[in-house]
Amino acid sequence: MTEPAQSPALHRGTVSPVTADEPRPHAAAPAFGSVGWQVQFCRRLPHSLASLKLTVVLFALAIFLTYAGTVAQKEHGVGTILTQYFRTGLARVEIEPLFLYTVHLPAWMPKDFYFPGGWLIGGMMLINLIAAHVTRFNVKVRGAKLWNGLAVLAVGSALIGLLVTDNLGVEPGGLSGFTSDWAIMLGIVAVMLTGARMLFNRRAGVVIAHAGLIVLLLSELITGLFAIEGIMPIMNGGAVNYIEVISKPELVVVDRSPADYDREVCVPGSFLAGGGTIRDDRLPFDVEVVDFMKNSELVQPGEGIVNPATAGSGLQMIARRQPEESGAGAAERQDAASAYIRVVDKQTHKPVGTYLVSYFFDHDFGARDLPQHVTLGGKTYDMALRFTRVYQPYTVKLLEFRHQLYPGTMIAKDYSSFIQLTDPSRRVDRRVRIWMNHPLRYHNQTLYQQSVLGQDQGTILQVVQNPGWAVPYISCLMVAGGLIVHFGQNLSTFLRRRAAA
């Protein structure tokens, strides 16, 4: 391509910090596989990994993946999108959504193709960034200056370490306005920038911005691996001591015969999805999965509809498989899981009956509790499919729920939950108000006001536990600070030159 704007010499000049460090091609390349080639390969590898061309390619791949993962949300829940596109090494990209569903592929054509996934692209970006730091962002100073700079950076890094391990007294709640907590963060970024300035001079901004990006990518990794997200629906006056994970159903078998407690045995939904028969000593009977539906609807039995159920509520209604709920739909709806379970006697191996269990039979989803009663050996067990429960050391009691509207409209102005928080292990017993943008932080978890249960019958709190919550804050400030320093420096140079000219 011909390019009129600048001469090659000029390009060498403008882009010098980047291109000057790229390895120069040698006159005679050593033979492939020889010792010389291997040495050269090892010497060149970091440079290749740090290549800006690789960066550009990774950006292009990331943009495409993001687009594909966005349009596919029309037909899939965001949970599916995460596992199919973003939190995976190899994404399976569906083709029809890419054309906004305007094109319908003929049957013989594949519906999807494989593409580098979020983990892979993100990982490569991380490697690319780290390699760039190693090979390209060269320290230009020696001696005492070098040590001073390193010391300042070490102090900054230590402060970041203290911050993300919650040792600086900075809390997410303190960051919801212009507060001193922000000042602490800005101070840390200033320390990092100063250290980088001592080592890298005019490249300090770029170095810190890219370092911030490394931290940001790592934080998405931490979130993907360790964060827990669930809900806590509480009826008015009710008390709850567990978090429910909606996207993960579990089959629970309850033995209510002990006088002072219930004995619950839970089977994770992933076991049900696998199908087959589940045998365990803790279960009073064997569980054979006839059908498991990630999303379903209930219909009335009628002619031409086969009913797999032979006992329980399944005789009155039939669950039918439904496509997954969209993550982008106008109505944000949850998948309604259902399953047909054949209960088999452990001793005789004879089937007792096939039962329907469903989210629709759970009051947190279908507004009624309808456990299936299984009688076996003179004992009655309750069997139900419900959100996976994660029990907590604390209990939340809903004292009052307030739901205010803008005058003359149905638009919500405020949802507030007034709760009593009790935790015997920490001797905590206090009243708390949780409302929009004002969550409760407790036990390394954050409880947010999410929505309302039925017609103001109670509240739904969202509970999140994310050990890396502070990382995005500091990394964002590092990137923004680095870019401001860098671009500001360029701008001032430019303006000075214009003034001089």
């Binding site: 009129p4 929009m436 943008n437 999140v464 994310n466």
Partner: protein, 615 residues
């Protein structure tokens, strides 16, 4: 590290004298020197006439004073004027009403050769008063715009210019409309076809008007004690019938409606004056807020006659300037753009004051801010690069397009209240503004990308090295700041989400859209630094940035409404597709070999070395 391109040591410098403007050498005539000032003065005078509030002559019914009275409607304090305008805008697509002419007996005067009677334009508030007063003639006002021809047919009506129909024409069909709307309402938004959506909209419009007719809306009666609630006139009447006290506001308002119905101007004005004095004593803040909003409505900085007309005027001046007499015309254009931008600024500031919120709360206001940012940036660049008069045209185009987008988006009250979750000033103020300015900068770079491609392809302008460098430098610099702003805005959005929902990043469509802009800007910068693209390549990539930004701005919203069946093919979607196609066309043109470009084609004789030599 990378100074703006073209500033590296060792650049074969181009002496500025070699391109010294020729125009300066010639002495301008007095007229040419004063022309820009005359135009600026006229423009200013025009703006002042817009800003002077409308008033009725003394002795006549003081309709415009009535329009300024405060009410509460849809959760927000506003004047009657806003209610009248937004209701009409929603039902008929415009802020005024065409009232059919009547003869002395009150009979409709038929048009010259057809059925539709001749009409005259009246302010929206007159229509509102007709409705509130229960004036039967208001049933013949064409205020319901029905765009779906199937529906027009089903209602037994004829397609007519303007597609606006009267309540009387629909009178016998109300049952049918209600029935079909109920059926359509049972379907999910994205499952409805065009007909069903149209029926539903018509039913909603009818309901809106009926609520006004029956005095259930607006909440016009002020509270009697401080901190109390505004109530509807119908409720106040009910309270009075039940033996309660008649709220003084209710008495005054209903008396005004009665007086209006009887064309009794003195009584109307008397009640109005009394009511106003009373309100000013008890609720001075509400009165002044409503007054300001009524003034803003009348001024209409973002109506067709406001900034939009001014930007268009500036652009026309620039276009004429390219034909001839360029210096005075382009200077005049700068003056007009400055005035338009000031009006734009005032408009945004008044909106902030009225709503008590940061400038961006919905798509409409984001269009206003993007336009404001683009025009402001162009004025700033015009100060830095005085020689490149083109910048003014770019600014005017940006202003014009964003005003048109905003005009298309204004379908009702543009300052409506927000869902509880969005109601945090701090995050709205930081995240949304940052992201919107990021959009602004990306579009601005894209506009200059277009300028680079078009002037290179079709003109000889890029033969001048200085122009070429300046354009490249602007694109590069603006992309740098676009990267900074869009990154910061996107991450601040993540932090807001973390504060509100406990998760930093959820990969939801809107977040992804913002992320794509960040990635795209970063891609351009890194491609530039890697030497993969140079001036032309960067211009092409910047144009593609327009597509990415539009996807994030609008495409994502369309995704939520529904891509299937008719959903995606409605209004805004067509414009989006059209825009994307135009940008793809420009990109294709930009990829043509340079020898086909006007600016880089070798000249047959005495070719200047810097233009023809491939670099």
């Amino acid at each position: 590290m990378n100074p703006a391109p073209g500033h590296a040591p060792g650049t074969p410098g181009t002496p500025a004298e070699s391109v010294a403007p020729v125009l300066l050498l010639r002495r301008e005539s007095l007229f040419a020197r004063w022309f820009p000032w005359v135009i600026a003065g006229l423009t200013l005078a025009y703006v002042v006439t817009l800003a002077i509030p409308a008033a009725d002559p003394p002795g006549k019914m003081q309709i415009q004073e009535f329009a300024k009275l405060p009410i509460v409607y849809n959760g927000r304090l506003k004047p009657f004027d806003t209610l009248a305008r937004t209701t009409l805008l929603q039902t008929s697509g415009r802020q005024t009403v065409q009232i059919p002419q009547r003869d002395a007996k009150g009979e409709l005067v038929p048009g010259p050769d057809g059925e539709p009677p001749a009409t005259h334009t009246e302010p929206a508030v007159r229509w509102l008063l007709d409705v509130l007063a229960g004036n039967p003639q208001s049933l013949d006002d064409p205020i319901l715009r029905i765009e779906n021809d199937q529906l027009i047919g089903a209602l037994g009506l004829q397609v007519r210019p303007g597609l606006r129909y009267t309540l009387n024409e629909l009178r016998s069909k109300i049952g049918m409309i209600a029935e079909q709307a109920t059926a359509a309402n049972k379907k999910e938004t994205d499952q409805r076809d065009a007909y069903e959506s149209a029926v539903l909209k018509l039913a909603e419009d009818l309901q809106l008007i009926m609520q006004l007719q029956s005095w259930q809306e607006p909440h016009a009666v002020p509270p009697t004690e401080p901190g109390g609630r505004w109530i509807a006139l119908a409720d106040a009447a009910q309270q009075a019938q039940a033996g309660g006290k008649v709220a003084p506001g209710a008495a005054a308002l209903s008396a005004m409606a009665v007086a209006y119905g009887k064309h009794d101007a003195p009584a109307f004005n008397q009640w109005l004056a009394m009511y106003k004095t009373d309100l000013e004593a008890h609720l001075p803040q509400a009165v002044s807020a409503a007054r300001v909003e009524a003034w803003y409505n009348g001024f209409g900085p973002f109506d067709l006659t406001g900034c939009l007309a001014l930007y268009l005027f500036a652009l026309l001046l620039m276009v004429f300037g390219w034909i001839g007499w360029s210096r005075p015309l382009s200077r005049a254009a700068v003056g007009v753009v400055v005035i338009a931008w000031l009006v734009h600024t005032v408009g945004i500031l008044v909106r902030i004051w009225i709503s008590g919120r940061p400038p961006v709360t919905n798509l409409y206001s984001s269009a206003l801010l993007i336009g404001w940012g683009c025009v402001g940036l162009s004025l700033l660049l015009r100060v830095i690069y005085k020689r490149l008069t083109l910048i003014t045209a770019v600014g005017a185009i940006a202003g014009l397009i964003t005003m048109l987008v905003a005009f298309g988006l204004a379908k009702g009250d543009t300052m409506e209240v927000l869902q509880a979750v969005l109601d945090t000033r701090f995050w709205l103020a930081t995240h949304v503004i940052c992201v919107t300015l990021g959009y602004t900068a990306t579009y601005f770079a894209g506009l200059f990308g277009i300028v680079y491609l078009v002037s290179g392809l079709f003109t000889n302008n890029l033969r001048d090295e200085q122009t070429r460098k300046t354009l490249t430098r602007i694109i590069y610099g603006v992309i740098c700041f676009a990267t900074l702003l869009s990154f910061t805005g996107t991450v601040l959005g993540g932090i807001w989400a973390d504060q509100s929902w406990g998760r930093f990043w959820g990969w939801d469509p809107k977040e992804n859209g913002a992320l794509m802009i960040v990635l795209w800007n970063a891609l351009i910068l890194h491609a530039r630094w890697a030497g993969l693209v140079k001036a032309r390549g960067m211009a092409v990539l910047a144009v593609a940035g327009n597509i990415v930004t539009s996807w994030s701005w609008f495409g994502v919203n369309l995704l939520g409404v529904g891509l299937h069946s008719y959903g995606f093919m409605h209004g805004a979607a067509w414009w989006l597709i059209l825009f994307v196609c135009s940008q793809l066309g420009l990109i294709a043109l930009g990829l043509l070999p340079l020898r086909w470009w006007c600016s880089f084609r070798p000249l047959p004789e005495d070719s200047p070395p810097h233009a023809a030599a491939p670099a």
